[in-house]
Symmetry: none
Subunit: 213 residues, 4 copies
Amino acid sequence: MDQPHVATGDTAAEAGNPDKTPRTERGRRTLRKLLDAAAIEFGERGFHDASISAITRRAGTALGSFYTYFDSKDEIFQALVRYMSEQLRDHVTPLVQAAPDEISAERIGLESFLGFVREHKEIYRIIDEAEFVDYASYRRHYETTVARVRQRLEDGAARGEIRADVGEVHAWAIGGMNVFLGMRYGLWDADADIAEIARIANDLLANGLKKQD
Amino acid sequence: MDQPHVATGDTAAEAGNPDKTPRTERGRRTLRKLLDAAAIEFGERGFHDASISAITRRAGTALGSFYTYFDSKDEIFQALVRYMSEQLRDHVTPLVQAAPDEISAERIGLESFLGFVREHKEIYRIIDEAEFVDYASYRRHYETTVARVRQRLEDGAARGEIRADVGEVHAWAIGGMNVFLGMRYGLWDADADIAEIARIANDLLANGLKKQD
Amino acid sequence: MDQPHVATGDTAAEAGNPDKTPRTERGRRTLRKLLDAAAIEFGERGFHDASISAITRRAGTALGSFYTYFDSKDEIFQALVRYMSEQLRDHVTPLVQAAPDEISAERIGLESFLGFVREHKEIYRIIDEAEFVDYASYRRHYETTVARVRQRLEDGAARGEIRADVGEVHAWAIGGMNVFLGMRYGLWDADADIAEIARIANDLLANGLKKQD
Amino acid sequence: MDQPHVATGDTAAEAGNPDKTPRTERGRRTLRKLLDAAAIEFGERGFHDASISAITRRAGTALGSFYTYFDSKDEIFQALVRYMSEQLRDHVTPLVQAAPDEISAERIGLESFLGFVREHKEIYRIIDEAEFVDYASYRRHYETTVARVRQRLEDGAARGEIRADVGEVHAWAIGGMNVFLGMRYGLWDADADIAEIARIANDLLANGLKKQD
DNA sequence: AATGAATGAGGGTTCATTCAT
DNA sequence: TATGAATGAACCCTCATTCAT
């Protein structure tokens, strides 16, 4: 991971257990090690095959220490999903915002997403598995992600760059398109030319299937 | 389920244990009851929370009877994924093939998919969970599904109905679009007007984001 | 096996289930197939790892047919132990009886035992496993075997061929010696010169450890 | 048992799971309780009828604690066989070594073996059952035991106490003799005069069957 | 805060035996 | 007699969580 360390304090606390926030520097280090280890373990083996003891083993802590920082296996998973969702957002958003127009923004968004998936396959897997482990997190992730797409579309429309009738359906369509291309060309195909994929998909998005002049 | 009964013989046998094919009519009935029960159980509780004993309880058979027809929990899951993938294909394909042109075909395909998801939420869930239980089945499902989309696109292009440069990327983009709309409006939103959703998405697909005249 | 077919009628009946004696020729054939299959299965996999269904599979009969001829897994095992004990006796006895004197008889008994073990490893294993499956059969086998040794010793002493004070202890000592040499040189060592082993052991038996003149 | 407590650390660790060695005194106590309970359970009911839950019930620990110290039922059995083989050796060896000469050593060895079997019937049974549970342990036990006999014989021959041509065959013959006498007079016959049995067998060993002057 | 042993519910799987045809 | 499906008790093992130190 480029930014392997999960931000401490925040993430764990928000998960609903304020008392477990570490008070000392040593505690913060342990929490961080646990989150990093969990990201690898969940990414490699999936939620159910992952075990707390494997996480603590990877983290180099005692088994019992896990429960100093998390109430349950589900809770650390939830913390990770939220964190990874944020990671992804933080990677994509600035690039997209620097785009000259909405069509370009979508191309850049897709390309940066493909790149991110390729670099962080475990993130893709963890977020997807949330569908079966922590449905609320899963849904929140995609709803907020798609909401950002929608906002961009509507802003672009307001600026007159694209058709005016864009809305929620378009946003979900684009979201799905991106995710599947991420799976196909980010996860499964290590050699695909990401920029080219993004260009092709963006052209479809911009012009549709109609015959071009 | 509209067609609640899993075709026997085929599905179970292909899963790799030819010796477990039932030889009597009674055996075929039991196998069918088990598959139906498993579809409900896996759909409602997910693979890991589902238990073999709950499946046999639902099926009204003894626990041991499960192992007369399947070698393991994984095997019945795999059989189900394949069966459900086929169910979905059998639902959508004839409708799509009756479409007057490729653009319409994609609209009809999406609309029938949305309808199918809404009627068979458990199928959506089971296929998706294969990503974490039986990756090969998961991948096969989406690869064959997308391959069908691609074939349609290329046929449409050959007929001059759509742009000539369509290919794999477009097919995956459309596949992802459909799946996400299925999740959003088939699974999550029971009241959405499916035909309207399909129309909007199809219009995007046909014309892109460009401002319309 | 040289004599692969277990004598029918007798053996099964004596095991305590007279009603299960086959009445037709076809029935006798089935019983025989089951016993032969069981001998191989128990010999190869041991009592606990052997399964009734594997036995019937080997025998080429239906699972249910097993219970037409035997009341339980234990019963067929018991029948086999008795049969194999008889096989062994029938192989060794005539050879021993043809010996010119008691010392030679013991040598010939050991040598023929070693040969038998080497040819019928499964018999050795089945009889030994009776210690943990059917203790009565196990004990009966060794008690009758040792009783025959003792009889020979006493007859030999009466004929003045060997010391007069031979008795039960000597018989058990000889029995144990034979069994261990059978394990070491019959079972474990396929290449040992059986006649030479028997000669060495017999010399020990005849002359003891004392320094020879 | 005279020495009911299995030495911890060693035995369990050697079984192949170094990570399961207890690190605290409490852990060592639990491991010891489990081994003691397993010795009784296996001795009374045999490997297959013994259950882990019965072992932990006897030991007064939770079921799960078993797996803190052993990977499987087979592993604890293996540990026990090794331990019991050592117990037996430690009982017999010093007595034998104190013998004035080789012939006496064999008598003392047999007599002490008979006494040991009578006091520790479960040890006899567990070692013998290894033939069907853990063949490698079984074979190792008898090979090392017989190797010790052989060494004694050769040392005795070198000292001129017995015939010079003693070797492996003699050692296995003596081993088998001892084991069978152990079964007959140690296990089965609680009243036999052990010293007298050993004397008779030793006389056979020393002088053979030849008529005595 | 850290450690690691202890707990026990839970579930997948086996297979001897019974039963209906 | 033969067949093969049905039955369900039994058991090994996992692992999230708790507890004592």
